[in-house]
Amino acid sequence: MSEWTPKIVAFCCYYCAYSAADLAGSMRLQYPPNIRVVELPCTGKVDVGVLLAALEAGADGVYVAGCLEGDCHFLKGNFRAKQRVAYAKRLLEEIGLEPERLEMYNLSGSMGPRFAEIAQEMTERITKLGPSPLNRQHRKGEVGP
């Protein structure tokens, strides 16, 4: 278990979270290195199939980071993402995975420290949950069933 670190995919909006990640870097902020950032033109582009595919392909956790509510560059993209994330969470429950493995966050491009905080928060949450049940069989040596 001590060796294991979660794989987390972050779908980040270009206008906020992606810029916030940049800012976090410029500010030399430390955040866990296990976050894989995927840039989106807007979180409104995020699709339930893509969220599930990330988990199926080996991610232990996934989050979508969009603009603060009311601040979407495309007006409603982040609200659409919020609904899709909620739907994907329900699907995860039906599939038998913890819905907590998926989350939606909102932040602005100037919130570099918040980006680092979210990365930290999500890493802690997934570490607590352990490896995704889909990955466990490949890591029998590391964790229990």
Partner: protein
């Protein structure tokens, strides 16, 4: 269009539990519009079923294909080769689609992934409502374009029952009384005299009650 809704994942997973290779067939017509069985939903269902299997430590090989429509044999030709390699076909079409696939491949196990609901339309993004009861003999010209067969809970033909309260149906305060809608519309059109016209009992043998129906258009036959 036909409006359908996906069955719970657990129910679909149970139907395909013995299959190792599954073909998931979507439909690009009605069920794509009501977001139940289009190309996108095929992908999501395949991924979800795959994840459920993976969780059990088993593999599910699946492939998705979404023909133009399932309710016409010529569009099912694209499945001919694909079904040879699978144990089971999951149809994400309406009940018609499931049956057309089953009829085309007598030796193949075909299961439905959707619950086919009704004939209706989109009233707002993400909301579909019933509008047609497929009764076989349209009377919308008598009722101002509002169907009492399907929108009145009792399918009454000559005005509302005593359960019509404040324009709503007694079965649910969210459901409009169809006859109130008809009255309001005819009044607006200044054709209230239609309300007085007596409609005799309907010949239900032209609806589902007469058994399975068939339409033949001789000039269209080849």
């Amino acid at each position: 269009m036909i409006v359908a809704e996906q069955k719970p994942l657990a129910e679909i997973a149970e139907m395909v539990k013995d299959a190792e290779r599954v073909l998931i067939v979507g439909c690009s017509e009605c069920v794509t519009v009501c977001q139940a069985g289009g190309e996108k939903q095929v992908g999501i269902l395949g991924t979800a079923l795959g994840m459920m299997r993976k969780k059990e430590g088993r593999e599910l090989q699946w492939e998705g294909v979404t023909p133009v429509r399932q309710c016409e044999p010529e569009y099912l030709e694209v499945l001919d080769k694909k079904v040879k390699d699978v144990d089971c076909v999951v149809s994400m079409g309406c009940g018609v689609g499931v049956q057309f696939i089953a009829e085309r491949y007598p030796g193949l196990w075909v299961v439905p992934a959707l619950n086919t609901k009704f004939g209706g339309g989109t009233v707002e993004a993400g909301v579909w409502e019933e509008r047609c009861g497929f009764c076989g003999e349209c009377i919308l010209h008598k009722t101002g374009g509002i169907c009492p067969i399907i929108r009145c809970s009792k399918s009454l033909l000559n005005g509302p029952c005593g359960g019509s309260q404040d324009g709503k149906c007694e079965i649910d305060s969210e459901v409009d009384c169809a006859w109130q809608l008809i009255y309001d519309r005819l009044k607006g059109l200044d054709r209230l005299e239609l309300m007085y016209a007596y409609t005799p009992p309907k010949d239900w043998s032209r609806a589902r009650d007469g058994g399975p129906r068939k339409v033949v258009k001789e000039e269209a036959r080849i």
